[in-house]
Symmetry: C2
Subunit: 494 residues, 2 copies
Amino acid sequence: MAPLKMEDLSEDRILHLVDQIKDWQSIVRSQTENTVSSYPVGVACFPTAVPRSRFDQAIKLQTVFNRLYCAVAEDDQWLYNVIRDIIPTDSLAKALWSVHEAVKKDGYVQSISLGLFRSDYMLHLDHDKEMESDDEDELSDASLKQVEMNTFSASGGSHADKVQVMHHYLARTGMYETSGVAFDSTSLATNRNIKSIGSSLALAHETYGHARSKGVKATAVLMIVQPNNFNIADERPIEYELWDRQVPVPTYRLEFGADVLQYTSLGQDRELLFQPPWLESGLEISVVYMRAGYEAHEYDDVGIKARIQLEQSTAIKCPSVLSHITTFKKVQQALSAPGTLEAFLPGHEGLHARKLACDLVQSMNYILKPSLEGGGHNVYGSDIPPYLSLTPEAQWSSYILMERIHPPLQSNLLMGPAVLDSGETVSELGIFGCCLWQSAKTADAQASEESDHRIQMLSNEVGGWTFKTKFADIDEMSVVKGFGHFDTPLLVDL
Amino acid sequence: MAPLKMEDLSEDRILHLVDQIKDWQSIVRSQTENTVSSYPVGVACFPTAVPRSRFDQAIKLQTVFNRLYCAVAEDDQWLYNVIRDIIPTDSLAKALWSVHEAVKKDGYVQSISLGLFRSDYMLHLDHDKEMESDDEDELSDASLKQVEMNTFSASGGSHADKVQVMHHYLARTGMYETSGVAFDSTSLATNRNIKSIGSSLALAHETYGHARSKGVKATAVLMIVQPNNFNIADERPIEYELWDRQVPVPTYRLEFGADVLQYTSLGQDRELLFQPPWLESGLEISVVYMRAGYEAHEYDDVGIKARIQLEQSTAIKCPSVLSHITTFKKVQQALSAPGTLEAFLPGHEGLHARKLACDLVQSMNYILKPSLEGGGHNVYGSDIPPYLSLTPEAQWSSYILMERIHPPLQSNLLMGPAVLDSGETVSELGIFGCCLWQSAKTADAQASEESDHRIQMLSNEVGGWTFKTKFADIDEMSVVKGFGHFDTPLLVDL
């Protein structure tokens, strides 16, 4: 072929090309105009012990949670009943519900949705005895508690994938051998997050099929991203994986908000058409992979219009606005009400798994504690909302809402972008769920093991996992803020 | 297995563990005490055109060059004659020759050596007409000229591997499509440098065989590195590749100099034993992979002792001190003398390849130009040394020694750690050669196609390639200094 000449490309395309290159050069990037500097993601220097039985339990439950949240996402009336109280005060809930209402008016034209969920757990010690660090007995007593279910295209998968490779490497080089005791590196958990997230997106892309719009030849996945994005290093490997598949899945990025309205449009049958100035030919979008649009501030008028446009289209959404809404803690709380789980997971085999899931979910209670010392005025679980409604708002700040989780403490050395320190730590295990489902309203009504009255599961898989560790005296697990450190579970038989 | 406790490891090991982790987090690192920040490696935004026929020619010649330099490395008398004039003034040559002499006194105990060579080329236009940028006719006229043969564990392989993946990705996303003309991404050259360098080291490791020293169970590759190393991002992928092979090859790093003397020792039969404080069990080193020890300042007394200790051992060296010495330009120059190549590549089939190689090598002439304007006093090639010997040294600085290469100019946009700029550029193509050979003095004397009177080639392969581009008005191609930018050849049929 002929030599390529830079002059043949528009300025727009060159600018975009430069942007593309920046991302190949960064870990977690902080960008300047012409280049990029990067800083490392925080990691735990030592893999943290997790009882193998608890880890296996979390894995085993994931497909049940997937099915549960898919079913919930297709019941907008139930969802509305759950979140209507927070709509006036929670601007994200308000924005998302307004998107749903706007789209519902003309009717949804895509009955299939993709979910890349992550269910987060902590280990929990029931007893009230003084906790001691690194106590094996404690670890063997610990049960698994669900902290939250994240149904919004959960992040952290790529980082967790790379960091477990690091820990496996360190283990194999003998760094974790202790005097006389060989380190069994097969005890380190493994994941293939990047491949499994890629596979799920590819399956949705294939399920969408050929371009429907006349004059458009190709389909592509569109990843909706935040501007000045700290998650680049977590997002990019998934894109590259999609391009690298045996049958490559074209994947492009687009910033949420104005760019969505500027570079996408709806075709005659509401196909989502993508025509940015840096591409020669327009594309029809098969899958909208949302990695932006999860924070309230993103939903100004333009943000709401952008989300409506995406949601109105024939593209398969990951997540749909309704499945996005299931991520509110209110929904988790409502699912713990007696009889609710059973309604969404109608009876056939799997009773045992359902029982286990119910145990987990029902344990997701909270304690409202007066932040003043003294004790005795704790309020528990579902008593909290009515209690608060009788309490003047001016007094709310004198209470702390605490999750009733007492994790075992383990000592570790954590290495963040600016700090290297040791201390007592606690960890959080996230299990990825990857699922593609069809609303039964339009789905082939044929009953199968994987379908119930609301949904038909087209695919229901456990993805990989994330595992994050923080100092015990820190409240937040945020990796971006430097508190959370990626880690690898060391599976122990106790 | 039981949970791992940080307290079970010594401070030494923890410090080393932290060092290991830093390297997983960096691209090109600049280190602080507790963490690491990194900056990107320079890249060309557009792949640069190279006539496919010239690229193929360079690939085809590599095994001939490999064999040539292996043969030269086994002829210490010839090498001495070539470099003896520079020993008094070139402190690196002096150091390396003193190492050879010291080791030769007691005799070498390993007859097998590994070479990871890189032969560098530029395109060259013979005619003197005014060069115009991006002229396809010029490109089709361009011939290939060898700039240098690097026989010291050549670097850049990992970067080049990753940057070509980037250019392939950019091509597939449509970034290089021009109006109406699809970009054929199969025209972009590919390489698997990391895998091929890893395979060569693994072959040498296997060839070494089991540990010979009593009480030592395992063998490992030892990568000798520079302190505060900018090449981390180029070295680490090779280590990880070795650990990741189906049969993992244990690979460790050690800084050149004092650490070599502190953490290695010679066994009874001169096995190279490695016992750093951060490893539980000692290892016997199968292959010494030198990525340090190529700069004169590294050879103080301790550096010389360290190199002697490595060289005296039974470990297979990459490179041996004699093959290291073949990297001097003096050796290249001597090889261009009539009849020399033929002496080192004795006649059997392969005459044609040898003819091609001779053409290349013989073109490696230089021009000595007065740096004052005026012209007419140029001195060419082998006339230069006698001319200089008749010229008072005080006047030498008034001359410039230039390689007679006039590369075609191509415009590009180069993106370095701190700069993004466009302009006329020139490129350099490096072809990796991976070879394992045995000195015929001790080798099974059985004649084969791959053996001659000096050496027996145990393996002779073309590795991948590097491709670097710089602005035409800059003299140096150094990537570390920010001048050279990794690039991918766009193979054009002209």
